[in-house]
């Protein structure tokens, strides 16, 4: 087990990319460190150079543009995300997710970018990003590109970034009218816990506010990666926005889920909870789409 690593804190994306590329597989980006430092200490991940991204201005910026949507720097702490007035107004599922990571001390350091790049199936910020249609902006030796967050994670702890690449920001489109989003997770404890099952839902209603025009559902902790519940979401389109529809969507989401049983939850428990949490997240999204304010 290696307890000593080099530490660099570059000011620019270009410099960070260079350090990561030169450092090879031993170089790792560092955001809040609430995953990485714990993993290094337990020997789960190895590193000999930590490249701290928090001094790069682009990565610490939050910009909301009513025409263009939200640009969220990869190293913005969850506490700032959950408190940001524009994010609270337009992307409530992200507030739900970022606002329950750890406890308030953890949220001062933990970042949404780090949550995504840690690529845990139970990462609480990831399903919200997916249902809000977020894209990840990636910088690397060959320039930059954007990929949908829904395809960012490829396995437990694995993502599609190559050596020398890093996440710069998350781009969230402007919310469509009559839409609402919600993320709920089930944990035995009230905080400082890890999702047994989490569900994010996004709904767009028709003008009568009675029918569903569009829907997206994503689940955490029920598959090797955060999971898009495509069948359930598609089924909802054109249906009445009511508890019957949501119950059926919950059942369809259960069919999509591929949970395991482990010390955090049994398999039957997880399957059951997929139905419950999906239904409840849809209810929350509906209320917000109708303009109600609810706390996640």
């Amino acid at each position: 087990m290696n307890f000593s690593y080099g530490y660099r804190a570059p000011d620019t994306i270009a410099e960070a990319v260079r350090l990561l590329q030169e450092g090879g597989s031993g170089a790792r980006p560092l955001a809040g460190g609430t995953d990485l430092l714990v993993q290094l200490r337990h020997g789960i991940r190895q590193a000999d150079l930590l490249v701290d991204l928090k001094r790069i201005p682009e990565l610490s910026a939050v910009r909301y543009d009513p025409a263009d949507g939200l640009t969220l720097g990869a190293a913005v702490p969850c506490a700032d995300v959950a408190d940001h007035p524009d994010i609270r107004a337009h992307y409530p599922a992200l507030v739900d997710g970022a606002g329950i990571i750890g406890g308030s001390a953890i949220r001062q350091r933990a970042t949404v970018g780090g949550n995504l790049c840690n690529a845990s199936p139970s990462g609480d910020a990831i399903p919200p990003l997916i249902v809000l249609g977020a894209e990840a902006e990636i910088a690397g030796p060959n320039g930059s590109c954007r990929v949908p967050v829904s395809s960012f994670c490829v396995g437990p702890g694995l993502h599609l970034l190559d050596q020398g690449e890093m996440l710069v920001a998350l781009h969230l489109p402007i919310p469509s009218p009559r839409s609402g989003s919600c993320y709920l997770r089930f944990t035995p404890r009230g905080e400082m816990d890890i999702a047994v099952v989490g569900a994010a839902a996004w709904l767009q209603l028709d003008e009568s506010l009675s029918y569903i025009e569009d829907a997206r559902i994503a689940l955490s902790a029920v598959a090797p990666v955060p999971l898009v519940a495509e069948t359930a979401a598609t089924w909802l389109i054109g249906r009445p926005a009511d508890s019957e529809s949501f119950a059926q969507a919950g059942r369809l989401a259960q069919e999509t889920a591929r949970p395991i049983g482990d010390v955090r939850g049994t398999l039957p428990q997880r399957l059951h909870l997929v139905g419950v949490m999906t239904r409840r997240a849809l209810q929350g999204a509906l209320r917000r789409a109708k303009g109600e304010t609810i706390d996640g």
């Binding site: 290696n2 307890f3 406890g103 089930f186 404890r189 009230g190 816990d193 010390v263």
Partner: protein, 760 residues
């Protein structure tokens, strides 16, 4: 004895704790903070297997690593005596303790220590562990207490035969011992019953969850004195253990207790002191060994997982006629579960004319259990109180009323062969009956959220034992206090308060300190809810000796007989000597100022072995809300009632009631060791071993009853343990009240609740 029943000026007040400021500003030295010049870092190699024979241990490669100072194994320890002694409220057998310090020919649980390394850095020590070659021959593990009791179960100790009153069994077994309590005629009692309830219960192994890990630093001086700094409840107990395991004289071992970051019974037995001492001897350097959180879970002394069965019968009039109890407690790898205490506490609050109880102490491939706050009582009370609750329900009686109809009284013969003296079970239950919480309306709910209310009656026997306090009077009239008891609960303050009250001085006059095994008189561990009680007796005795000696000094100053001097410790003139010969007065400080001329140093010494003590009843009321879709249980309101005898420092007593309840809530709803089929612990961390957080525990209401234990100068009974006993029972009964399904498992996790409802 100078007893003041009224007019207390110090006792019953709420001064700040003597240790508070140091702790709040982060200056207090806890076990892992000890740092000595030239110190080396120790780490322990642990078994990855739950049950295996050790074929070979070869430390050669580790010893050759640059920066490694020493490697230690069982070969460095002499044979230890096959003798069992009480430590705190648990026990140790030194032969087993040796095997649990460094494995002999077998490893018996995941995390069992095998060897230790001291190195220049922690990192080198870590690397060295990987270079110790151990060859194992794997054996089938036994993890379940009933499976371990089966005739064909794999044996942990080939030479262990069940001991009982009937003698020692012929065939070897994992059942270390069994016992039976019998009272009246249970068969006839059940024949008289109109209603009979019988249920089985299971509880998971749980940990005390103290935040500070075990940590010891050992140093040998050139003369051969071994000093061990350690976080413990009992410095003298640790000294005995080091003495027995090293075969080294007691006088050459000094154990210095540090501040303690939580113990709850788990820091009576040492785990890292002997490895640190051996490594320090071999390396010629001080060595510090600090456990990681994972090591604390894997290989310290949690509390037993259990399987229990309780059957009870009662008449239509609501009188209990009979009980039959079976208690099977996991001891972990070596004998010594708290099944005896579990047996003493189950149903202790009731008058049950006919009963039989069978208790079994069973070894399994898990860490050897230790004491945990009222050891053994929380498990058995969960079972007993659930059946009591169900009987009340079947009889259509209010659960509190049913308990009151059968409540235990003084002198009533008890199932364990003894009888209660000066108890207040009735007063405690009446306090529940009359409590605003019990009488508040509860909206039960018909939708997804269902609410319920439950109660539980709890008992713990408490303890007395040996304590030592020294009071030295200083020339300015202040008093320096040294106690042999380790302060784990604000003891310095609560003992100094008893000394101050007796002396008739203000608390500010007394500066209390914890001693070590070289500086203070022998004191048993701070455990068993004994310390405020027994060390308080020692403090009063020391104070009385101070006053008696001060009489002589005052007489010398006044040139009169000591009998002509009077001292008052009460009222406006408290702290004044008067002389009947000349009607003069002198203050305590004025006499103190002349100590030099009247004979020199003046100390009062209180060395006691308190052999009689009073048990404590308590009760809990819990309101829960169950989400019947997720199985999650939320506590809406929680009350703890307890007879404490006398609350020396009420804030501290309330803290004990709340802290114990919080741990009981954790045990009831969240906490439990989880193992895979091979006996690997799956949740040796605070993420997956779930202690309740601040969001999970409501503000706990407390009600203190003060029905004194008459043999303590101030009436103290002991407080710390009863509070953990009742909460799981009260919560389980409340969950039943909410959802109509009895709960047979601890912890009552959401998955278990859904399973019990047939939802998953």
């Amino acid at each position: 004895m100078i007893t003041k029943t009224a007019e207390h000026t110090v006792i019953g007040t709420r001064p700040p704790r003597a240790d508070a400021f140091e702790k709040v500003v982060g200056k207090a030295v806890f076990g892992p903070d000890v740092n000595l010049p030239r110190m080396a870092y120790g780490r322990i190699l642990r078994s990855p297997h739950a049950h295996a024979r050790i074929v070979r241990i070869d430390p050669t490669r580790a010893e050759a690593l640059d920066g490694v100072y020493a490697v230690a194994t069982a070969a460095d320890l002499p044979e230890a005596a096959d003798r069992t002694e009480r430590v705190g409220e648990g026990n140790v057998n030194y032969k087993y303790m040796r095997d649990n310090t460094f494995a002999g020919d077998k490893v018996l649980y995941h995390g069992h220590p095998i060897a230790a390394v001291a190195a220049r850095t922690l990192q080198i020590a870590e690397q060295a562990l990987e270079l110790i070659d151990v060859e194992y021959e794997l054996l089938d593990p036994v993890l379940d207490v009933r499976q371990a009791m089966a005739a064909d179960a794999p044996l942990l100790h080939e030479g262990m035969h069940t001991r009982s009153l009937a003698g020692t069994a012929d065939t070897p077994s994992n059942v270390a011992s069994q016992f039976q309590f019998l009272q009246g005629d249970p068969e006839q009692g059940f024949a008289q019953a109109d209603v009979v309830v019988e249920r089985a219960f299971e509880t998971a192994m749980v940990h005390q969850g103290y935040i500070e890990p075990h940590a010891a630093t050992a140093a040998w001086d050139a003369d051969g004195t071994l000093t061990v700094y350690t976080t413990t409840q009992g410095a003298f107990d640790i000294r005995s253990q080091v003495h027995e395991l090293l075969g080294y004289p007691l006088s050459k071992i000094i154990v210095v207790p540090t501040e303690v970051g939580g113990a709850f019974g788990g820091k009576n037995v040492g785990y890292v002191e002997v490895p640190a001492a051996v490594l320090a001897r071999k390396s010629g350097r001080p060595v510090r060994v600090v456990m990681t959180r994972e090591e604390v879970f894997l290989a310290s002394g949690p509390s037993s997982g259990t399987w229990m069965r309780v059957k009870m019968g009662a008449t239509r009039e609501g009188r209990i006629t009979a009980a039959e109890v079976e208690l099977c407690y996991e001891a972990g790898a070596y004998p010594g579960s708290p099944v005896g205490a579990g047996a003493n506490c189950i149903l202790a609050g009731y008058d049950i004319p006919n009963a039989r109880l069978d208790g079994y102490d069973v070894v399994v491939n898990k860490p050897r259990v230790g004491a945990y706050r009222a050891p053994g009582a929380t498990q058995s009370t969960f079972a007993g109180e659930a059946v009591i609750d169900e009987l009340a329900e079947k009889l259509g009686l209010d659960p509190v009323e049913f308990r009151l109809r059968n409540i235990a009284t003084n002198g009533m013969p008890r199932l364990n062969g003894g009888f209660h003296e000066h108890i207040a079970a009735r007063e405690v239950m009446e306090a529940v009956r009359d409590h605003p919480h019990y009488n508040a309306p509860l909206e039960r709910g018909t939708g997804i959220l269902r609410r319920g209310r439950g109660v539980g009656l709890a008992y713990w026997g408490n303890w007395g034992a040996r304590s030592s306090v020294t009071l030295e009077v200083n020339a300015d009239g202040t008093v320096s206090m040294l106690m042999g008891s380790v302060d784990i609960t604000g003891t310095r303050t609560s003992i100094a308060m008893q000394a101050a009250e007796t002396l008739g001085l203000s608390l500010a006059h007394i500066n209390p300190a914890m001693g070590n095994t070289q500086t203070s008189g022998y004191s048993d561990a701070s455990g068993g809810s004994r310390t405020t009680m027994a060390t308080g007796v020692a403090a009063v005795k020391a104070a009385e000796e101070v006053i008696a000696k001060m009489h002589e000094r005052a007489a010398a100053i006044w040139v009169c007989e000591p009998e002509q001097v009077a001292y008052t410790n009460i009222g406006p003139d408290a702290g004044t000597f008067t002389c009947s010969r000349n009607d003069e007065t002198m203050t305590f400080a004025e006499v103190a100022a002349k100590l030099g001329g009247t004979g020199g140093a003046l100390r009062g010494q209180g060395d006691v072995n308190v052999r009689r003590w009073g048990g404590a009843f308590g009760a809990n009321i819990a309101d829960v809300e169950v989400d019947i879709e997720t199985g999650s249980v939320r506590l809406l309101r929680f009350t703890a009632v307890q007879n404490v005898g006398k609350a020396i420092r009420p804030g501290q007593v309330e803290g004990q009631l709340r802290g114990g309840a919080t741990q009981g809530i954790g045990w009831g709803l969240y906490e439990g060791y989880a193992y895979d089929g091979q006996g690997h612990m799956l949740n040796a961390n605070f993420l997956d071993y779930k202690l309740p957080t601040a969001l999970d525990v409501p503000a706990i209401e407390t009600e203190i009853l003060e029905i004194p234990w008459p043999e303590h100068p101030f009436g103290v009974r002991g407080v710390g343990e009863t509070p953990i006993v009742g909460p799981p029972a009260a919560i389980a009964n409340a969950v039943y009240d909410a959802i109509g399904v009895r709960q047979g498992f601890l912890p009552m996790t959401p998955a278990r609740i859904l399973e019990s409802m047939g939802i998953i």
